[in-house]
Amino acid sequence: MDTILGLDLPTWWFLLIGALISGYGILDGFDLGAGALHLFFRKEQSRRIALNAIGPVWDGNEVWLVIGAGALFAAFPLVYGTLLSVFYLPFMLLLLAIIFRAISIEFRSKEEMKWWRTLWDVCYCLSSSTIALLFGLILGNLIQGIPLDKNHQFVGRLLDFFNPYALLISVTVLSLFMLHGAMYLAMKTEDRLYARMTVLINQTSKFFILCFITSSMATLIYVPHMEAIFHKYPVMFALPVTAVLIVLNMRRMIEKRRYLRGFISSGVTTALLLILFASGLYPNLVLSNYDARGNISIYEAASTDSSLRTMLLFAVIGMPLVLTYTVFVFWTFRGKVKLEETSY
């Protein structure tokens, strides 16, 4: 098997897809979170500013989902087919929520009527929350493992996905995104809306820390296989310790109203939690809680080395470009939101 810098190609793709999903979580995380908080703003002006804060960037953020899914399809087709078909209805709901969210953002400003705007505000808030909750639900089930037999055929039931642990992870993801989004909005707003954001940040950060502690405990108690890595490589214990330190630091930054640093901390937290999950998973991509032979490893699922190598070349050329556009767009729209004639 070919290796690059000591790592084989499936491992590179495992890392790269992890990076893409983290990038998606960090970027779309804040605009989903801003959406989930939308109904906390009462005044029309506040809602418009909140919407325009994410206006020029949310579409670019969603691209990371498209690239991440495309990369999973290309690098690990077996996993792509298995996961998406096993979570058929959750993914269908996710797609509908993505559609509703896009049209809420797009359609809201097109009419002046109060009922029209309220309708799309509610739609925007619900769809943003639903997307965060569904990603959390799928993640919660993947952490526990899903019932696959030795041929990787699904032998469970749809309702089993709605177990308490998965629901807890689901709410945790929502709380993290809400906090992340609140800090983004604080950076983009001023005056009274900014004052409102400081209160919301305080509340959502407490909500998140509560969820974070509960889900960490629940993982330790109910999902022992996620700890195996720490027994094998005690040095990995540095990861959860760092996560805790970052969360504590984030709290400190929030008290000092240093929201850019707080925002970076919540972004790093998202990435660290995903890295923890990935290190518990490796070298598997999907764990089976029914038959250990049902686990899908990166080696079993991977495309051919030559394909992985071609696509790695794409990634090496393409990702710096994507990062450049992202930085350019964020830079262009830096600073506080000002409503203009082209605004939503």
């Binding site: 691209v63 899914a69 058929y88 993914f91």
Partner: protein, 456 residues
């Protein structure tokens, strides 16, 4: 066919047909925008700037729905066609990933600047963003059509494993990308998109001209779009012929279906007709031996008929493919005639006063849309029963984990949501068109319009 198969096929067909209303419009409109904004930079004429601003607002609406319905397509490969995903992942996956990373990221990032960046970046950077969005949408189409073309004419691959474990793997990346139908089909799709976008501009401009609103603006927009449309409609004749040559060589059963040709013999070319598949009869207005002539430049040379293929390897809906194919060709010819007539009248300076022709152009926006749709129906229904031609049958490509009732639920939901979406799209598009351009107040040409900066 079992229920999961039939429902999954209906769902895929419905969601992709609905999605395909939007990307061709964005691609074609993108080209028109590049010309409008380019002319603004070159001439500094406010008219072109106001036109660009107006059409970017329309573009944003179309693009938004295109993205939302496009993400559905990407996920549906995995949700409904898991076996297919595993089978083609090594090949199709890399094209799809390339689309995301090289094309979609480009268009989505710069779209924000296009819509919201007017006061934030210089006119040159804004124009550059327009060019990049237009190019990004064409790159998108490139990778998607490459992936689809590989399914029609597989190349640069070998099969690994057997039975349900079999999969296609890339042996030569460029041979896979430049498979025998990629270039012909991409150019055909791209020009179809140019027609869709330019006819939208033609239709709206013609409507304004008839209503005597924004007359100077609309005549300029009409002229730009007319050139794009006229060149494209002629180009479509050429790429269409090339695509048909590929079908002749690599998918003879599809060719026979397109002309309702059952027995191996010299084949006729129908202008209009009807296929009675049960009695193997095709009747209608035809050029005897015309298809043989197009293929072999000889009216007498035989073309393989449907009966020379095993029944399990023939498409099912023969009359459907025949009708969709002939409708596409008929519309293509109509568009050439329409553009030619309009160009002639433009040269004679009699175009914009010709009210009946303007009225025809208002309605003409539907023609390329219909042609694009039925063209794809021909291509996709005509290659059945294969999802990957000659390699993987559609019925073998389904997800094993998905139950019929789940597909039924999602199909009902998609149907409801897409109907709502379409109604809202038409309503808002109409509202934007009624609202019209934001023209400078001193402009004497349209005294009734007042400067009214509305949110997009």
């Amino acid at each position: 066919m079992d229920n999961v198969e039939i429902l999954s096929r209906i769902q895929f067909a419905f969601t992709i047909a609905f999605h395909y209303i939007y990307p061709p419009l964005s691609i074609g409109l993108g080209v028109c925008l590049v010309f409008m904004e380019g002319l603004y930079l070159k001439t500094k004429d406010k008219v072109y700037e106001e036109l660009t601003r107006f059409w970017i607002r329309i573009f944003a609406l179309i693009f938004g729905i295109g993205v939302a319905t496009g993400i559905v397509m990407e996920f549906e490969f995995g949700t409904n066609w898991a076996v297919y995903s595993r089978y083609v992942g090594d090949i199709f996956g890399s094209a799809l990933a390339a689309e995301g990373i090289f094309a979609f990221a480009l268009e989505s990032a710069f779209l924000g600047i296009l819509i919201f960046g007017w006061n934030r970046v210089s006119p040159r950077v804004h124009f550059l963003s327009t060019v990049l969005v237009a190019l990004g949408s064409m790159f998108s189409a490139l990778w998607i059509v490459v992936a689809n073309s590989w399914q029609q004419t597989p190349a640069g691959y070998r099969i690994e494993g057997t039975g349900m474990q079999a999969r296609a793997v890339v042996t030569d990346f460029w041979e896979m990308v430049l498979n025998p139908s990629s270039i012909q089909r991409y150019s055909h799709v791209l020009i179809g998109a140019f027609l869709a976008g330019s006819f939208l501009v033609l239709s709206v401009s013609a409507w304004y001209i008839m209503k005597r609103k924004y007359v100077v603006h609309s005549q300029k927009a009409f002229t730009i779009a007319l050139w794009v449309a006229a060149i494209s409609s002629l180009g479509q004749l050429f790429t269409g012929h090339q695509s048909a040559e590929v079908v002749t060589k690599y998918q003879p059963a599809k060719l026979a279906t397109m002309e309702g040709h059952f027995e191996t013999a010299p084949a006729d070319l129908y202008i209009l007709g009807w296929v009675d598949a049960k009695n193997q009869q095709t009747t209608g207005l035809k050029i005897p031996g015309g298809l043989s002539f197009l293929v072999h430049q000889d009216f007498k040379k035989p073309i393989p008929g449907l009966n020379s293929f095993k029944p399990e390897n023939r498409p099912g809906a023969i009359n459907f493919v025949f009708q969709t194919y002939h409708l596409m060709v008929g519309i293509g010819m109509t568009l050439i005639g329409l553009c030619g007539l309009a160009l002639f009248l433009l040269y004679r300076k009699k175009l914009f006063v010709n009210r009946w022709l303007m009225a025809v152009f208002v309605g003409s926006v539907l023609l390329p849309q219909i042609a694009n749709q039925v063209g794809w129906y021909t291509a996709e229904v005509g290659r059945q029963p294969w999802v990957v031609y000659g390699l993987l049958r559609t019925s073998d490509a389904l997800s094993q984990a998905v139950k019929a009732e789940h597909v039924l639920i999602s199909l009902i939901l998609f149907t409801l949501v897409y109907i709502i979406l379409f109604v809202l799209f038409i309503y808002l598009l109409n509202k934007k068109i009624q609202h019209g351009l934001d023209v400078s107040p001193e402009d004497p040409e349209t005294p009734r319009s007042k400067f009214n900066p509305s949110p997009i």
